[in-house]
């Protein structure tokens, strides 16, 4: 059984190294094929492990080798395949394998083809380490690894120059990559503090040891640990206020957005909270804070997606919003529900992004949805799949999103946090509206693209074939809910609902109603040509379309003063003080040599004079230091 674990873990690494060998060369198709094949190997190993865990209900735990053994600190390189991690493994490898195949077509004409597959597989490897590790240190390694690969991938087209914020809110791919990495770094500081607190108080970083000992610790300390770990999760899962990087990360190629910013990396934060559930169960107040923040982000992000014109940014904001939903569930103690929503969301969000990729390819990388329209005629299959994904996102029965999202709303209502429920309910409506706004503006209505001279065509057959399994999963995944619950709650705590019967039906009905209402409004409005231009004058519109001016605030409040501080530290301190001191020492030596050169003038008379001076000095020394006095 261990060999399947190793296969699942290391196949992406082998694929990455293989592709890296051709990194600087022009496109070689073999890199894409080999990487994708290895990812399928990883996928089948994960599926086999899932089958094994399901049938035997046992955990596979291996220790690869001792990594750090210093004093009392013993951190092994260990991996565990239990119910939670096998679900994550299957999700990650499914989406990754399909995205790899898709990328063969998407990146067909890109000169960095080999480099792309190397980075993509490296990312999957880091993510696998993250979910399979059996201690917090391994988790952190995977955490940093995905951060790094995300930086590499978002900044894939690093040669594009910087532009101003009104031309492109993300300024440039390399800027966006730096922003993502730096924001994650800031959050990682919090996570590190959490890890240090854990180690200091329990003496180990292994999950089993920590979770056993955590009940014995003082509540204030556990709250602190929970808060700091959540700060780390906030960075990775882009919760407010560390959310601006996610929208800007759309500068990377679309498969990257599909894999990283929909299905895997951003869910790492949720995974952390789910994995550390004993900590969060002990401090329900921290959990409530997490849930509140999640609900806020859900509405916040959905509001920004309402008015945005950029195809990928709308989907990015929807990801942000759904992450908020997941955190609500995790914060209120319904961990298995959060995991379930994580899994279904991965499928339909990846599908949405891949569909968006098809549209972009057809429209020569144009992103403004107001320049599209009526594409359903030429891109039939893409349109169908995106509609399926949007229905799943909006939470319509029988698609997957219905089961997971509705459960979260039930949880909110059930734990008597009615305000949270209202926020989530409004968010569901907004979600439905903007998803179908997107669908209507891109695929139906007037064919605006003809004015701009685009000639769209459907994507290659294998790209559609890669998207098809995701579509199928988006449809049927919801029906596995009961089996999923039974399976996962062997490890995760169960959530006992207090509301039953008619209340539940009423809740479901109300939620479905608002979702359908949102869809209907979008379809109605946009089939009649959309909203009028007068809305653009509205200050609320201005606020939303500028992302509540938060990036501008961050730039003024943090980036510019910090850059100024750095400039001062460089010019005033480093150049003037440190460099000057070193230069001064060198100068002193140089000048003294320069001045001392006079002694060797070549003039016999002056050299004799120096000899006499030396003689006098020696005589003085004799008088001063003579041994016989």
């Amino acid at each position: 059984m261990e060999k399947y674990l190793y296969l699942a873990l290391f196949s992406p690494l082998v694929g990455s190294l293989f592709a890296a060998m051709f990194g600087a060369q022009p496109k070689k198709l073999i890199t894409g094929i080999v990487s994708s094949a290895l990812l399928f190997v990883s996928l089948f190993s994960s599926l086999y492990l899932l089958y094994y865990v399901v049938t035997t209900d046992s955990i596979v735990h291996v220790k690869l080798f001792d990594w750090i053994n210093v004093g009392d600190l013993a951190i092994p390189f260990g991996f565990v395949v239990d119910h939670v991690s096998v679900i994550m493994m299957v999700t990650v490898t499914t989406v990754s394998a399909l995205v790899h195949v898709y990328s063969i077509g998407y990146m067909k004409y890109d000169e960095g083809f080999n480099r792309f597959f190397s980075y993509l597989s490296a990312f999957v490897f880091s993510m696998m380490i993250l979910v399979m590790s059996d201690n917090f240190a391994g988790l952190f390694i995977g955490w940093e690894g995905v951060g790094l690969c995300s930086w590499l991938l978002v900044g894939f087209w690093y040669k594009k120059p910087d532009v101003t914020r009104d031309v492109n809110p993300s300024i440039s791919p390399s800027w966006a990559a730096n922003e993502a990495f730096i924001m994650n770094r800031i959050a990682d500081l919090g996570m590190l503090i959490g890890l240090f607190l854990i180690y200091w108080n329990t003496g180990s970083l292994q999950y089993d040891v920590v979770f056993q000992d955590v009940s014995a610790l003082n509540i204030g300390l556990v709250s602190l640990i929970g808060i700091f770990l959540f700060i780390g999760a906030m960075g990775k899962s882009a919760q407010f206020p560390l959310h601006t990087w996610l929208a800007d990360a759309m500068e990377g190629p679309t498969p990257v957005s599909a894999l990283i910013h929909a299905a895997t990396m951003v869910t790492a934060g949720v995974y952390l909270v789910i994995r550390a559930n004993p900590i969060y169960s002990a401090v329900p107040d921290v959990g409530l804070f997490i849930a509140t923040l999640g609900a806020f982000v859900a509405v916040f992000a959905a509001s920004m997606a309402l008015v945005n014109q950029d195809l990928k940014r709308i989907i990015a904001y929807s990801t942000l919003s759904q992450l908020g939903y997941m955190f609500v569930a995790a914060g209120l103690g319904a961990y298995w529900i959060a995991l379930f929503h994580l899994m279904t969301h991965a499928f339909f969000k990846a599908l949405l992004f891949l569909g968006a990729g098809n549209v972009m390819h057809a429209m020569d990388d144009e992103l403004n949805i107001f320049k599209m329209g009526g594409l359903a005629k030429t891109m039939k299959w893409t349109a169908i799949m995106m509609i399926i994904a949007s229905l799943a996102l909006a939470g319509i029965y029988p698609f997957a999103g219905f089961f997971s999202k509705d459960k979260i709303l039930e949880v909110a209502f059930d734990s008597q946090h009615y305000i949270l429920w209202v926020m989530l309910w409004v968010g569901a409506g907004l979600t439905a509206f903007y998803s179908f706004r997107l669908v209507m503006l891109v695929f139906f209505g007037e064919e605006r693209y003809k004015k701009f001279g685009f000639h769209p065509h459907e994507a290659y057959w294998y790209m559609l074939a890669a998207m098809a399994p995701l579509a199928v999963l988006a449809i049927i995944a919801g029906f596995f809910e009961e089996g999923f619950e039974r399976f996962v709650t062997s490890i995760l705590p169960e959530y006992h609902f207090h509301v039953h019967g008619i209340t539940v039906v009423a809740l479901i009905g109300v939620t479905t109603l608002i979702a359908l209402g949102g869809i209907a409004l979008a379809v109605y409005k946009y089939s009649r040509g959309g909203f009028s231009e007068k809305w653009k004058e509205n200050p609320v519109y201005q606020l939303l379309i500028n992302q509540y001016y938060i990036p501008v605030i961050y730039e003024k409040l943090f980036s510019k003063p910090y850059a100024e501080l750095s400039r001062i530290a460089w010019k005033e301190l480093d150049l003037r003080v440190v460099d000057a001191t070193v230069d001064f020492i060198a100068n002193v030596i140089y000048k003294s040599g320069f001045k001392g050169r006079v002694v060797q003038s070549g003039n016999l008379s002056s050299m004799l004079k120096w000899m006499v001076i030396g003689l006098v000095v020696l005589l003085i020394l004799v008088v001063l230091y003579s041994p016989v006095r």
Partner: protein, 100 residues
């Protein structure tokens, strides 16, 4: 009474006169004269020490100093003459080819 100290003080004075000569003289020949003075001054010192300690070593030393001084003068004058024939001046300031 004339003690050893008298002779040694005399030696010191003569030696320093020789030093003055070395420092002052810019003509190479004059420099040689001053060098001779140095050697003679220490010869007096050696001889004085030899007498007051009843040891012959000092006198022998002075003897060898004289021998060496003689040979040094021979060689030095020979070189000086060759230089004068080649350059035409024996002023020290003209003998400087390093630039300091």
């Amino acid at each position: 009474m004339i003690t050893l100290s008298h002779y040694l003080v005399l030696t010191a004075i003569l030696f320093c006169i020789g030093l003055v000569g070395i420092l002052r003289r810019k003509n190479l020949l004059m420099l040689f004269f001053a060098t001779e003075m140095l050697l003679n001054a220490v010869n007096i010192g050696f001889a004085a020490v030899s007498k007051y300690y009843m040891d012959l070593t000092g006198q022998l030393f002075a003897f060898f100093v004289i021998a060496i001084a003689a040979s040094e003068v021979a060689v030095g004058l020979g070189l000086l003459i060759i230089w004068y024939k080649r350059v035409g001046s024996i002023d020290l300031d003209t003998m400087q080819s390093m630039h300091g």
